[in-house]
Amino acid sequence: MLYYILKRILQMIPVLIGVTLILFLLMYIIPEDPARLILQQGATDQALANLREKMGIDQPLHIQYFRYMKNLLQGDLGTSYRYRRPVTGILADAYPNSIRLAFAAILIEILIGLCAGMIAAVKKYSFWDTLVTVSTTLAVCVPVFWLGMIMQNLFGLRLGWLPISGMGDGSIQYYILPAFTLASVSTAYVARMTRSSMLEVMSHDYITTAFAKGLSYRLVVGKHALKNALIPVVTLIGLNLGALMGGVVLTETVFNWPGIGRTIYLAILERDTPVVLGGTLVLVIIFLVLNLVVDVLYGLLDPRIRVAKQEVKV
């Protein structure tokens, strides 16, 4: 298992280098002069030259990239053009709120997605199966920000049940609408995958054997079928994290949630490129790390992976 985890971490390194290279090149091709954007109008030529030298933007491309990587490893994501503050500091204030929201969404995705998929599979071709199939098909077509606005209008403004903006005192009621909005698309995919995976597993011989032994339906479905049906679902949850991280920007914008997503949105409006690219890098890293965790879980769930790795070692 340790070998598997180490291998996955090592595989992440070239991807991370590639991601940083792309973000660095994006930063490099901005037509505006970063020194002028930070110092703004009225700065003297000497002040601009000093800042350029300090930032290293008068150096060749490869030197600048190494400098960028060195700074990144020290937690320096650059300086905000707008606030003239380190980007790391701006994002550090916001990222715990995004992580909390993402975890709430993942929880909803797993609970509702698994339950809906299981019900649809167990009651195949029933009303419930049709309901799950139709609602999941529609859910993947709905942009998260529009769903958020509909929920704000319905549950916040018309029914007055839930707050529609901000995270207030951080109580659970503030999480409900944004977390459901953020989880909507992923939940639909998890439900669809659980349904098809359960149906496939239920057609296997060992399930027939379990029924033939006289085991109860609940035991066969809950113990024999679900555990094996979960394996592709866990993989999908890992893949869904990407959509979740992208959805963070839109959901936080609609719900005025003080996280990285909203920080990125405000930076877009102010053309504060270092904050946008720094925020993107942080979200990509969160995505990769969560994906690693899911992959490790996958290894724990499926003994064949561990066995395969041990065989390779021998």
Binding site: V142, P143, W146, N153, L157, L250, T253, V284
Partner: protein, 298 residues
């Protein structure tokens, strides 16, 4: 695997059995026509395409005309979908907005498809170093969540239609490359490829004449589904102010404008949102239908 072209035995009525020309695509179309949901999807797309092409005929008002006295009018016989804060007719703006969505969906996916097929063919056909390079590059692009990557690119390139094509097109190639590589790998060792090689065909000719036509079906399915995704990404970028700039009507931007008025003018957000959902639904249903049509085992 279906042969690209062949003959199938069919019953011709009184004249008995005869032979009818069949092909992978003809068989898929025959199966697709029997799939009601796929036909609903295709109908939605056809109506949408017609709406986009004939927008000036279908719209009732000038989509950019501002009439201050008409602001925040609820849906009526004069303004079917109501008006926005500037008194612009929302129905006409939704109709014209379909042009941007369809254009972005088709062009951006076309760019992804072109890059993906080229890279996937290089990786799958040659193997070895090109394969490793292409797949590692694809891994890097997979690490960028679609919307986040598009936001990063658009922030640097600036808003605009061409930049949206570039951003969405560049980000989508890896999905096509991975799928096409797999298809090429399954086809490149077939007898007809070996026969073409024995006859002295060049690598380019083998790829263009033999491998591409026999590996293209999964790309049609993925391409159709990705048009829906591209439309959602475009709407998201426009919502964040990174898409097509006003006064050009775009559905995402219309939703962004409605954000502050969801209490007093909910129609401002309802109709553009429904337009996005219906359009994406059309492509999802057609994509699902195409997948079943090309691979009946599904």
């Amino acid at each position: 695997m279906f042969s690209k072209q062949g003959t199938g035995k069919v019953y011709n009525g009184a004249s008995g059995y005869g032979y009818k020309k069949t092909s992978l695509y003809r068989n898929a179309w025959r199966r697709l026509k029997k799939n009601k949901l796929a036909m609903v999807g295709l109908s939605i797309i056809c109506v949408l395409a017609a709406t986009a092409i004939f927008s000036p005929l279908v719209a009732t008002h000038d989509p950019t005309a501002r009439i201050k006295e008409e602001s925040f009018r609820s849906p009526s016989t004069e303004h079917w979908f109501g008006t926005d804060i500037l008194g612009r007719d929302i129905y006409s703006r939704v109709i014209y907005g379909s042009r941007i969505s369809i254009m972005v969906g088709v062009v951006a996916v076309g760019i992804s498809l072109a890059i993906g097929i080229t890279m996937g063919a290089l990786a799958g056909y040659f193997g070895g170093f090109p394969d490793t390079m292409v797949m590692r590059m694809a891994d890097i692009f997979f690490a960028f969540p679609y919307i986040l990557g598009a936001i990063a690119i658009m922030t640097v390139l600036g808003p605009g239609l061409v930049n949206i094509f570039i951003a969405i097109g560049i980000l989508g190639w890896a999905y096509f490359a991975r799928l096409f590589r797999g298809s090429v790998l399954s086809v490149k060792n077939k007898e007809y490829v070996a026969a073409a090689r024995a006859l002295g065909a060049s690598n380019f000719r083998i790829m263009a004449k033999h491998i591409l036509p026999n590996s293209f079906a999964p790309m049609i399915v993925l391409g159709t589904m990705n048009v829906g995704t591209a439309i959602i990404v475009e709407a998201s970028l426009s919502f964040l102010g990174l898409g097509v700039q006003p006064p050009t009507p775009a559905w995402g931007h219309m939703l962004s404008e409605s954000l502050n008025y969801i209490n007093i003018a909910p129609w401002m957000m309802f109709f553009p949102g429904m337009a996005i959902v219906l359009t994406v639904l059309g492509f999802v249903l057609l994509g699902d239908g195409l997948r079943d049509a090309f691979d009946p085992r599904m």
